[in-house]
């Protein structure tokens, strides 16, 4: 305690230098927190988007994600209503939604183009998050109206290509599961955007029943299981793998290639930037401690002459660095918390990422784990730098130190 007291007193010797070092550490910790907070927010958003796109756990034919189908629903699932009810009985399951993936041609009478179809259940739009945004018109109706044409949602660029708006009619052409051509007249209900131009040029969403009508089948491509708690996904995935060995059970992250790519990229970019910030902290502390040791060389000699052990003197300088590092870290964490709060309550938009058309809100997570790790890293770097800077001073012969001018 007496050393800590002395270390605290010593911080006041050169207040300007102490303050400068403290602020640099605060900025470094703030930087670490901002970088990691942005990365964590991005990871969490992408994870959430991936989960909401197809579900936390996906049930399909065992080969569905292994190879291409030669004809629609060749690798589809049959009798899914019973399976959906069984799965829905689990109290942890929020929704079990079926989906059909198919392709075909869409025509406005004058022009035909390829579409990438999704047969979906309308409940999907209640839980899909920001992955698909409605730009015009309305989402698909909860129930199909047997007296009206089936409804479709078109990707923004597909709608532009076909020059249609909500309320206009179109014709879908597809191949049935038997390989026969089939057609379905539909009405445009709404225009959507995924933020990915290539996807928006091909995306077409219809009611599941309409897709089955076009394909003349009661099968589906996959069942997506949406859980109440995303923390349960691993356990639930294992449970389903054991309960349904005859089905293909896929976890969300196995399908989330974009999530993994971004995570790998950000981890490297922000990791390198984090190391640079820590090295800056190390140099700042080394410089401060070196200056302090040089200015206090005679005092080091006095302390040693009075019987202070070398390790005690080393400890004193390290404690001084630790105090600056801790105070700087605390300030940095508070600044990061302030920024995080300010962004939460304001609407700052990031520009669209490369290859996308939609921006996204800028948030920075304030993670207690990252706060602890950042502070710990800074404190360790500070201790090492101070120790290194002090070694030279304490190894000087006492008489030489006492005569230092």
């Amino acid at each position: 305690m007496k050393w800590l007291f002395l270390a605290w007193k010593n911080l006041g010797r050169n207040r300007r230098r102490t303050l400068a070092t403290l602020l640099l550490i605060a900025v470094a910790v703030f930087g670490l927190m901002a970088l990691s907070g942005f990365a964590l927010y991005t990871y969490e958003s992408l994870k959430e988007a991936s989960m909401r796109e197809e579900g936390q756990v996906i049930l399909s034919h065992p080969e569905y994600f292994q190879r291409e189908e030669n004809r629609p629903l060749e690798l589809g699932l049959s009798g899914v209503k019973d399976l959906q009810q069984q799965l829905q009985a689990d109290s942890g399951v929020r929704r079990v939604l079926a989906r059909i993936n198919f392709e075909g041609l869409v025509s406005n009478g004058e022009k035909s183009t390829i579409f990438m179809g999704r047969g979906v259940e309308p409940e999907r739009f209640q839980i899909q998050g920001q992955g698909v945004q409605l730009k015009q018109g309305r989402w698909l109706s909860p129930q199909l109206d047997p007296t009206a044409f089936p409804e479709v949602l078109l990707g923004k660029r597909l709608a532009q290509s076909l020059q249609v708006e909500p309320g206009d009619g179109l014709t879908l052409l597809g191949t049935t599961t038997e390989g026969v051509l089939n057609a379905l007249d539909v009405d445009v209900r709404g225009i959507v955007s995924t933020g990915i131009p290539e996807m928006d040029a091909r995306l077409l969403m219809v009611h599941l029943d309409s897709a089955q009508e076009l394909l003349v089948s009661d099968q589906v491509s996959q069942l997506g299981v949406y859980l109440y708690s995303s923390q349960q996904d691993v356990a639930y995935y294992q449970q389903l793998s054991e309960e349904y060995p005859e089905l293909g059970v896929t976890a969300w992250h196995e399908r989330a290639t974009f999530y993994h790519s971004v995570r790998d990229l950000y981890n490297r970019i922000f990791g390198v930037m984090g190391v640079i910030l820590l090295v800056m902290v190390g140099f700042a502390i080394f410089n401060t401690a070196s200056m302090s040791v040089m200015e206090r060389t005679r005092e080091l000699g006095t302390l040693a002459a009075l019987g202070t052990r070398r390790r005690e003197i080393l400890g004193l300088f390290v404690q001084e660095a630790l105090l600056i590092a801790l105070l700087g870290s605390l300030l940095g964490l508070l600044l990061a918390a302030g920024l995080s709060g300010a962004l939460y309550f304001s609407d700052v938009q990031m520009p669209p990422p490369p290859g996308q058309t939609e921006g996204y809100p800028l948030y920075i997570y304030w993670s207690p784990l990252m706060a602890g790790l950042s502070s710990l890293a800074v404190v360790v770097f500070a201790a090492l730098a101070a120790g290194l800077a002090t070694l030279k001073g304490i190894n000087k012969p006492i008489v030489e130190a006492l005569n230092h001018v």
Binding site: K9, R13, G301, R309
Partner: protein
């Protein structure tokens, strides 16, 4: 028995490529309760001899006995422990720790020794009263005059009741009147605390306070008991 016995002590410094002898065959004994003065011109080796006695420098050859036991200058931890426990220093420029109050400066050697808070408080109060600066206990060294700082330094050296008090030019930074007061105080307290006091000075006015005076001339010690 003497506290310290120096036998045929030699010490030289390398200046350029040539070694220059500073101490040549020094024989000296320091006794508890006595004040020994080392006088001589600048560069005569007074401080070097003092530093060796205070265990912060080592001789090239010869032997030093502490209470009859040879001192091993290579055992740094033992030397540190001996300085911590048994040796007090008074420096020419006081060498007080500027961020600590007078009382904390005096308390420092007792901190190091691990004394309890109450013991430290009592001992510090007593010694500050003895050197007559108790009223400045809470002042930082910068707020004190030269004489007051040297009194605090003397208090710091004596507070642990050392066996040896080493004082290197303790009056050189003080005016004449203060120098004599400080010398008187050191002599009085040194005797009261029963420590061997060795003082290096080129101030002839301090001679009357010394029990023994030695003259260092070209590394050779001359003189003895007055």
């Amino acid at each position: 028995m003497s506290l310290i016995t120096l036998q045929q002590l030699h010490k030289s410094y390398r200046i350029g490529k040539q070694p220059q002898a500073v101490l040549t065959g020094i024989d000296l004994q320091l006794h508890q309760g006595e004040m020994t003065g080392l006088i001589g011109p600048s560069g005569s080796g007074k401080s070097t001899l003092l530093n060796i006695c205070g265990l912060i420098d080592r001789p090239d050859s010869g032997e030093m006995l502490w209470e009859g036991q040879p001192v091993d200058f290579s055992a740094k931890a033992k030397l540190t422990q001996l300085r911590r426990r048994s040796i007090g220093f008074v420096f020419q420029s006081f060498n007080l720790i500027p961020v600590m109050s007078a009382a904390d400066n005096v308390a420092y050697p007792l901190w190091l020794r691990g004394d309890s808070r109450s013991e430290i408080k009592k001992a510090v109060q007593t010694v500050l009263e003895e050197v007559e600066v108790a009223e400045f206990a809470n002042q930082l060294p910068d707020a004190l005059s030269g004489g007051q700082r040297q009194r605090v330094a003397i208090a710091r050296a004596l507070v642990k009741k050392p066996q040896l008090l080493v004082a290197d030019e303790p009056t050189a930074s003080l005016d004449e009147e203060t120098a004599l007061v400080v010398a008187d105080l050191m002599k009085k307290l040194g005797r009261e605390y029963g420590c061997a006091l060795v003082i290096a000075t080129h101030d002839d006015r301090l001679k009357p306070w010394c029990d023994s005076i030695y003259q260092l001339q070209q590394g050779v010690l001359q003189g003895g008991v007055q």
